[in-house]
């Protein structure tokens, strides 16, 4: 099990950041991802592995007012 934005989410072998984003349906074009307080750049999403127990924050980044 991992935590995604304070909620539990099932973990499985081979889970990368990109796999997780796909599972959650996060398709917004401005997203930032932090895994255990470490930012993961977009170019690394496909290879950065998520480990069981990780704490992931996914923000849909907005700047309008």
């Amino acid at each position: 099990m991992i935590i995604v934005n304070t909620q539990e989410h099932p973990w499985h072998e081979g889970m990368t950041v990109q796999v997780l984003l796909d599972e959650k349906g996060y398709i917004f074009r401005h997203i930032i991802v932090r895994v255990n307080d470490e930012y993961v750049a977009e170019e690394d999403w496909a290879r950065r592995m998520i480990r069981d127990g990780d704490d992931v924050v996914v923000l849909h980044l907005t700047a309008g007012g």
């Binding site: 934005n5 304070t6 930032i32 932090r34 923000l59 849909h60 907005t62 007012g65």
Partner: protein, 227 residues
């Protein structure tokens, strides 16, 4: 206290708290989407002194979401329309217009005498500028931002680095409200969240620092994230 005007604030806002609220000075930076609804909520609740800052005028593309944008107000300064609206709904509120965009030169003066600064801006650099000015002035800042089906809000203690974490350097060129979809109901929700947090802060509620409220109306969630 004007008992009848504020009767439906009871019992959540007591008469004594209403008097406290009447003494508070709040700077709202940005009088467009978020700002318009925040100003409306604070004025109706009875926040006593509102300083409204925005150098912009209303244009046709504001009509889809901004409370104060109307056919009659096109081309008019946003601060002027906001001031007239406040006085129409609650003449007890003292309103000060500052029809300028926030800048390094005017930030300190804009914050002078305030208890809280509210970020209703539409771009990252101005938010970081406001945060820096609030740190220097020792003032809390209530951040809010919105785009598409998403939004966020956070009460930042003076000197908080939350915005620098939320907007890492490579994201600071993020497209502004000019390009990202801005939907009225999502703008209203983020503004309502900011206004609620502002009222609770002004009434003395202790709130955890650097907690980011993250709204996702694509999936229908509101999360409080330690960031």
């Amino acid at each position: 206290m004007e008992l009848e005007r504020y009767r439906r604030n009871l019992p959540e806002i007591s008469p004594a708290q209403q008097d406290v609220l009447a003494e508070k000075h709040v700077l709202i930076v940005g009088c467009g989407g978020l700002g318009g609804y925040i100003i409306e909520a604070l004025a109706r609740a009875g926040a006593g002194h509102l300083r409204l800052m925005d150098g912009d005028t209303f244009k046709e593309s504001d009509l889809n979401r901004q409370l104060l944008a109307s056919s009659m107000n096109l081309g008019r300064p946003k601060t002027l329309a906001a001031r007239q609206r406040v006085l129409a709904v609650n003449s007890l509120v003292e309103v000060e217009e500052s029809p300028y965009f926030l800048s390094v030169e005017n930030a300190a003066e804009a914050l002078a005498g305030c208890h809280l600064a509210i970020d209703a801006l539409d771009n990252v650099p101005s938010r970081l500028l406001l945060a820096e000015a609030c740190a220097k002035a020792g003032l809390p800042m209530l951040h809010g931002a919105v785009g598409a089906w998403y939004g966020q809000a956070a009460l930042l203690p003076p000197g908080s680095k939350l915005l620098e974490r939320v907007y890492p350097a490579h994201c600071r060129g993020l497209e502004s409200a000019e390009k990202m979809a801005m939907l009225a109901p999502v703008v209203m929700q983020v503004a309502a969240l900011q206004a609620s947090l502002a009222l609770r802060f002004l009434l003395g509620d202790e709130q955890p620092a650097d907690l980011l409220w993250h709204l996702d109306m694509e999936r229908g969630s509101l999360e409080k994230i330690s960031f």
